[in-house]
Every structure is written in structure tokens, then in C-alpha cells.
């Protein structure tokens, strides 16, 4: 009797696991959405708890320090305004030239700020969740950046949150160009398992002229990431497969280990 009860319980657990694993992707994501909503109150509490020390620190800052910060921000604001005016003029000129040469006009990308609310608890994925979802207009495969550079892309979207697959995850491959004389192109793939700041740039031409410190940007190929987003710098390179192609290690500009806020790019 005892043994039969054991086997029944084990059988029930195995049965439920097999049912869940064999569900179609759409049903699985709906189920994940439903179960994930159980954690929403805790996310709210955690956010408020994280904000509390910052609020306390703000309230005890001396007036002189605040005035100094305001002054610095005013200066930075003026600089950014003048840069913005210049870039608007350059964009207008670019549009006019494109019209003259009958080239297709570049579509402008819009940005939406999102807070990173959670990281993947498993060590074998590099994903984070943000607090924007379908109600904010998000959809799968939108690029995600920070002020420093590319971060990843949206991999799945719920109503109020989305999952971002970061560069360095096996499911996020990016076509990239090295900013050198030969504009060598390759594909960014997963890097080391421990160091989140290093990724591998592979399938570069065997004649690639790579030097440490050269900038790596998105190539615009692949249809997901627009051209010219900074990714990182070349650390070193080596010839692989008996000189068939070259691999290089790239140090990412964005610090993926301490992401707090990211920008989602909308076409």
C-alpha cells in the first residue's frame, strides 16, 4: 500500500511535468504570464524598498550640495540643447540630400525608458525583465539599449512586462561591424559564462585587420538592430579553424551586470 501511494504521487508529478513541457509555446507563455502575476505585489514592494534609501539620502543632502548639482545639471542641459540643435540641422540636411539623390529616407527611432525589475534566476540564461509590455506598445524583437550601447532585444512580451534577452545569451546573435579601414563584419555570439562584459565576435574574415580598442557597432543586417548602435571594443583576436576565419573578443560598452534602466527603441 505504502509503495503504491509513493508511485502514484511520483507518477502525478511526472505527468504534470510532461503535460507542461509538451504544451505549445503560446499556451506556455500565457501560463507563465498568469503565474508571473502572482509575483507582482512583491515586485512593487521590492521597488519601494529600493527607492527608500535613495529618498532618505536625498532628504539629508545639504543645501550647498544640491545647489552645486543643480548648477552642473544646468550646464549639462545647455550643452545637450546645443548638441540637439546641431543634430536636428544635420538630420534635416541628411534628409534633403537623400531626397536629392532619390534615396530612401531613414525612419526615426523613438525611445521608451523601462526599469529592469528582475534578472533570470538560472545561471545558463542571460535575460532580464522590464516593466513595459504590450500596453506600452512593445512587441517581440525590438532593440534595447542604454546610454553606453546595445543591451539586447525583446524576446517575449506580456501585458505589463517583457523579457529582454541580453547580448551574450545563446539566443541573441547580432550582426556587427568593426570600425576600421576594412569595415570587417561578423556575428556576436555568447562569450564567457562568468564575465558578462565579454562576448565573442565570430565569422570575421581571415584577412581582418583587428586591433585592440577598435569600436564595434551594429551592422544593420538581420532586420532587428538598426545600423550604428555602439556595442563595444575589440580586446583581442585569433585565427580559428586553420585560418578559415577570425574570432575576436569584444568588451561591451553597456554594463550588463548592473542594469537598472534601459531604453527600448521603436521604429
Amino acid at each position: 500500500m505504502f509503495k503504491q501511494k509513493n508511485y502514484l504521487a511520483l507518477g502525478a508529478v511526472v505527468f504534470v511535468a510532461i503535460i507542461l513541457l509538451s504544451l505549445p509555446t503560446r499556451a506556455t507563455s500565457r501560463l507563465k504570464l498568469a503565474v508571473g502575476s502572482w509575483f507582482l505585489p512583491l515586485f512593487g514592494l521590492a521597488g519601494a524598498a529600493q527607492q527608500l534609501p535613495a529618498d532618505l539620502a536625498d532628504s539629508v543632502l545639504p543645501r550647498r550640495e544640491l545647489l552645486r548639482q543643480i548648477d552642473a545639471l544646468r550646464r549639462e542641459n545647455q550643452q545637450l540643447r546645443s548638441q540637439s540643435v546641431q543634430s536636428i540641422a544635420i538630420a534635416r540636411e541628411n534628409d534633403q540630400l537623400r531626397t536629392l539623390f532619390n534615396w530612401q529616407r531613414q525612419s526615426k527611432w523613438q525611445l521608451k525608458l523601462a526599469n529592469v525589475v528582475m534578472r533570470d534566476p538560472a545561471n545558463w540564461w542571460r535575460t532580464v525583465q522590464i516593466d513595459l509590455g504590450t500596453r506600452d506598445g512593445l512587441r517581440v524583437n525590438l532593440p534595447v539599449i542604454t546610454a553606453s550601447g546595445l543591451v539586447g532585444r525583446v524576446s517575449s512580451v506580456d501585458k505589463m512586462s517583457s523579457q529582454i534577452v541580453l547580448i551574450g545569451d545563446p539566443n541573441c546573435r547580432v550582426s556587427a561591424t568593426v570600425e576600421n579601414a576594412t569595415r570587417d563584419m561578423g556575428v556576436l555570439i555568447a562569450g564567457g559564462t562568468l564575465d558578462t562584459s565579454l562576448v565573442e565576435l565570430t565569422y570575421l574574415a581571415s584577412s581582418a585587420n583587428l586591433k585592440p580598442g577598435q569600436n564595434v557597432i551594429t551592422s544593420g543586417l538581420g532586420g532587428i538592430f538598426p545600423k550604428g548602435i555602439p556595442i563595444g571594443q575589440i580586446v583581442d583576436s585569433r585565427s580559428v579553424e586553420y585560418g578559415l576565419y577570425t574570432d575576436a573578443r569584444v568588451k561591451l560598452n553597456a554594463n550588463l551586470g548592473s542594469l537598472e534602466q534601459v531604453w527600448v527603441l521603436f521604429p
Binding site: N6, L20, V35, P121, T127, T193, D195
Partner: protein, 185 residues
């Protein structure tokens, strides 16, 4: 079965999964995120019944997979595979000894991620694996081993503080008292 103990274990599992998803300190300090569910499964297997083990495997696995990019349900089987053998042999285990808890916690924390990875690799998933994975497994094993005696103490203390204790019937019963008297000669 004491349902309060089951509720307590499930609540701890829920908070543990949430903590693993929000606290990035272990990842930045040790290079790996720790997982407390295997250690909790050791506690459940040694101190609770079959329904609790089944519920912890089901809900713990589903909660973990929900907050992760894992396929939903893939973490259920490893947790169940850890819990069952311990439950079946628990009469032979010195469960009150911290060293026994430490060893079982280490074994469970090492086996759970390995089985999960094995399941996903056999399902054709491409995982982020490398030499660093060995270090991550060592960290998960060590932290799981150290955490298990603490989980035992914490859960026992919470159970004593919040739960009701089972009433122990005294051996003495009036109706069974043997009336002794000297026969009058």
C-alpha cells in the same frame, strides 16, 4: 499531516524564487546565482509527507521556470527526483545532525541544476555553458550545503512560533490502570 508546515514550505519557496530573481548580489560577488529550492526540498523530504514533496516540486518548479527563460515545467522533475529518494530513506538518515543536512544539501544543490541542464540539452535547447559553469556549480553546491542547516533551523523556528503543535497523548489512562491490592488472607 500538518497543513501549516506545507503552507510554510510553499511560502518559503515562493519567497526564495522571488529573491533569486531580484537579488543580484550573489551573481556579482560569487559569479553565480544561488538556488535554495533543492535545500528546501531536503527539508521537506525529511520533515513532511508525500503531498508536500509533490506540491513543492510542482509549485517550486513552476515558479522558478516562470521567472526564468527555462521551458515551463523543466525544473519540476529534478526537484521531485531529489525529494523522493530522501523521503524513502529518511528513517535511515540522521536528520537532526547538521552534518547530515549539510551533505544532503550539497548533493541536492549539485544534482538539481545538472538534471535541469541535462533535460534542456536533451530537448535541443542551447544553453550558456563553458568552463565557468563548473565554478557556478561549485558555488551553488557550497551555498546550498551551507544554507540547508540554516533552512532547517529557520523552518523549525517558524513552525514552532506560528504553527500549532500536535497534541501528544499521555501514556497514562485511568481506565487502564491496574488495580493492585493485597488479597486479604
Amino acid at each position: 499531516m500538518n497543513p501549516f508546515k506545507t503552507i510554510l514550505i510553499l511560502a518559503f519557496a515562493f519567497l526564495a524564487v522571488f529573491g533569486e530573481a531580484t537579488l543580484s548580489a550573489p551573481r556579482s560577488w560569487l559569479g553565480a546565482q544561488i538556488d535554495l529550492l533543492p535545500a528546501l526540498m531536503v527539508y521537506a523530504a525529511l520533515n513532511s509527507g508525500l503531498p508536500t514533496i509533490a506540491l513543492l516540486a510542482l509549485f517550486g518548479g513552476i515558479w522558478f521556470d516562470t521567472l526564468s527563460a527555462n521551458p515551463l515545467g523543466v525544473s519540476i522533475l529534478p526537484l521531485a527526483i531529489i525529494g523522493w529518494p530522501i523521503y524513502l530513506r529518511r528513517d535511515l538518515i540522521l536528520r537532526d545532525l547538521p552534518f547530515a543536512q549539510f551533505v544532503l544539501g550539497a548533493a541536492a544543490s549539485a544534482v538539481a541544476p545538472l538534471l535541469t541542464m541535462l533535460l534542456m540539452l536533451s530537448g535541443g535547447k542551447e544553453l550558456l555553458l563553458g568552463w565557468g559553469t563548473i565554478w557556478q556549480l561549485i558555488v551553488m553546491t557550497a551555498v546550498g550545503a551551507v544554507a540547508t542547516p540554516f533552512i532547517f533551523s529557520l523552518m523549525d523556528a517558524a513552525n514552532r512560533a506560528l504553527g500549532y503543535q500536535e497534541r501528544i497523548e499521555p501514556g497514562f489512562r485511568l481506565d487502564r490502570e491496574i488495580q493492585r491490592s493485597r488479597k486479604k488472607l
